[in-house]
């Protein structure tokens, strides 16, 4: 293993957590294999970010250019491709984020690199890279290796690895890799913030969250009553919003809200990572699900396995009794 190249991700002038998570993992892999950790940072006026990265990498490669202000894979991809081609790192890590998924497959095709996406673990054995990724909504783990390629490309799931304090003292290298103008075929227009609704679920100590298991919109009354009894608000997984049963501001997860209530009750939610990333910091998590193998039980503190249409009514009664 010679070099592990980590693509630094940032938005609105802030480096995103996934960058440090990947650099931490890259550091551990490099430590075991005697390789070097390199961060690649593209942006405009990114000197502060670059210096922050030096404690996590042996070298920080910077392409600083006005055309790189906002992420646009059409502009970023050729620059990254150029850098990867010239350095031939053994491993390239990109976040499995909205940014990374729009970029990595096109980078892989352009360079003829093998790509494993949404990895939750990366292992180096000798020179060989292998990864673990989840399939079937988190119910099965798949271990993948790479067919002989000098460089393996992976996208890494957010929060798969912890953020550790940086203990390196890398140097900053400014690259003069050419940067194209934003092409006419793909132009960034603007960012639009999610609309603010009338209930801010992030402020509530108690969230009763409901998922696809609720089956019909009419059945929501059941969880609303439970939320009422516990003085909480109703949140939900994405399919409930997709179906139009609850507004977007009630959605918990990577493309919704990140919540940290004292109590989170997940009802009929399987616990795919896009949901769990938004709620796993809750103090106490209770899951009610008829599938004993639902991934939500691995994150929950307490679980009841069974039919929510039997359990929620019984729970309401028991809570009323406990109160009396």
């Amino acid at each position: 293993m010679n070099e592990i190249l980590v693509l630094a991700e940032h938005r609105g002038g802030e480096l995103r957590d996934v960058t440090f998570e990947m650099l931490g993992k890259a550091g551990a892999l490099a430590g075991a294999s005697g390789g070097a950790v390199t961060a690649l940072l593209l942006g405009a006026g990114v000197r502060d970010m670059a210096s922050r990265l030096t404690s996590y990498a042996d070298e920080v490669l910077v392409v600083d250019h006005g055309n790189l202000t906002d992420f646009n894979s059409a502009v970023y991809q050729p620059v990254i491709a150029e850098v990867v081609k010239s350095r031939e790192p053994s491993l390239v890590m990109v976040g499995h984020t909205a940014f990374g998924v729009d970029l990595a497959p096109s980078l892989a095709v352009a360079l003829g690199l093998p790509l494993a996406s949404d990895c939750i673990d990366v292992v180096l054995d000798g020179g060989a890279v292998s990864v673990t990724r989840q399939i079937y909504g988190g119910k099965v783990d798949a271990r993948l290796s790479f067919r002989d390629s000098a460089t393996a490309l992976v996208t890494v799931r957010a929060a798969a690895f912890p953020v550790e304090d940086g203990a390196r003292s890398g140097s900053v290298t400014e690259l003069d890799t050419p940067v194209s103008d934003e092409p006419a075929f793909r132009r960034f227009v603007q960012y639009v913030e999610a609309a603010i609704g009338d209930v801010d679920i992030t402020k509530s100590d108690v969230i009763i969250a409901v998922g696809r298991g609720i089956k019909e919109e009419e059945n929501l009354a059941l969880v609303e009553e439970l939320a009422g009894l516990l003085g909480g608000v109703v949140g939900c997984s994405r399919p409930v919003v997709d179906a139009g049963w609850l507004p977007k501001d009630r959605q918990v997860g990577s493309s919704g809200k990140t919540v940290k209530p004292k109590l989170y009750v997940a009802i009929g939610i399987s616990g795919q990572f896009q949901h769990m990333s938004g709620m796993k910091a809750a103090e106490t998590i209770v899951a009610i699900n008829k599938d004993p193998k639902a991934p939500i039980f691995s994150e929950a503190d307490y679980g009841i396995v069974g039919d929510l249409f039997k359990i929620v009514p019984a729970l309401k009664e028991k809570i009323a009794e406990a109160r009396a």
């Binding site: 729009d102 119910k139 516990l230 729970l315 406990a322």
Partner: protein, 262 residues
């Protein structure tokens, strides 16, 4: 506005009790219900809405075994005019880029202004095929798309980023868009439509038909190699409250009371 929609048939696994097949390289598929991948259903609906407003034909395309013709027929029942199944044992076991390679070859002799895919297949969760396909076709792309507005020669799209932030872009046609769930309200096929679609022809394309070398697709053409499937480690896991619904709920109510929530 001619649109190609790439769809995949996937097993329903959220509620199923999955078993890993002997050899550890696949799951036991027997007994699992098969359905159109969730985001692909939204992609098809988006194509129907666009062609209703701007005219044009829809070609529905899948790479899959014979069972996946069910998904093609259901899509024709809703209004897709042409159906293509990219079918060859040579495609078996391909990773996302190998799959995109075969789909790109199948698109060579189709006329299109727009290609829609789902953003992620719920079985492999790769989140790669649409973007890889665009690069192979050498046309622009955007994925995680939750808004599409058709202009002249271009589309304005909204991409959903973390936290629900929307990135607005304009993209020239032809392009590939990876559609995210929730963008519209997918319709149901009518009984009449289903009856009519059952008699329609599905075009089959083999590797040879498309001039693809078998070594460039399927498992042989994949850069990644599946080594082994396992069930995720359970870790600490939840304290499961046992008993009848009433007993288990009683235990939970006690815990919630103890913690001061009741």
């Amino acid at each position: 506005m001619n649109i190609v929609v790439c769809v995949k048939q996937v097993p329903e696994t959220a509620e199923a009790d999955l078993k890993i097949a002997a050899g550890g390289k696949g799951i036991v598929e027997e007994g699992l219900a098969l359905q159109i991948n969730e985001s692909d259903n939204y992609a098809l609906e988006e194509a129907l809405l666009i062609t209703e407003e701007h005219d044009g034909d829809i070609t529905i395309m899948t790479l899959g075994h014979e069972s996946s013709e069910e998904v093609l027929r259901m899509s024709m029942a809703k209004g897709a005019g042409t159906a293509v199944r990219v079918a060859d044992p040579a495609f078996d076991g391909g990773d996302a880029i190998a799959t995109a390679t075969a789909l790109a070859a199948a698109l060579k002799d189709v006329e299109y202004d727009l290609v829609l895919t789902g953003c992620m297949a719920s079985d492999d969760g790769a989140t790669q095929v649409g973007v890889a396909l665009a690069e192979l076709l050498d046309i622009p792309h955007a994925t995680y798309v939750t808004e599409v507005e058709v202009g002249s020669g271009e589309v304005t799209v909204g991409r959903e980023l973390e936290g629900g932030l929307i990135e607005k872009l304009t993209i020239k046609l032809p392009c590939v868009l990876g559609i995210q769930t929730g963008i519209n309200e997918p319709r149901y096929a009518s009984i009449m439509g289903i009856a009519r679609a059952s008699k329609r022809e599905i075009e089959l394309k083999s590797a040879g038909d498309m001039g693809l070398d078998a070594s460039s697709v399927g498992a042989a053409g994949s850069g990644t190699v599946l080594e082994e499937l396992t069930f995720p480690p359970v870790g600490e896991g939840a304290d499961i409250l046992e008993g009848t619904p009433s007993e288990a709920s009683g235990k939970l109510a006690d815990i919630l009371k103890e913690k001061g929530f009741v």
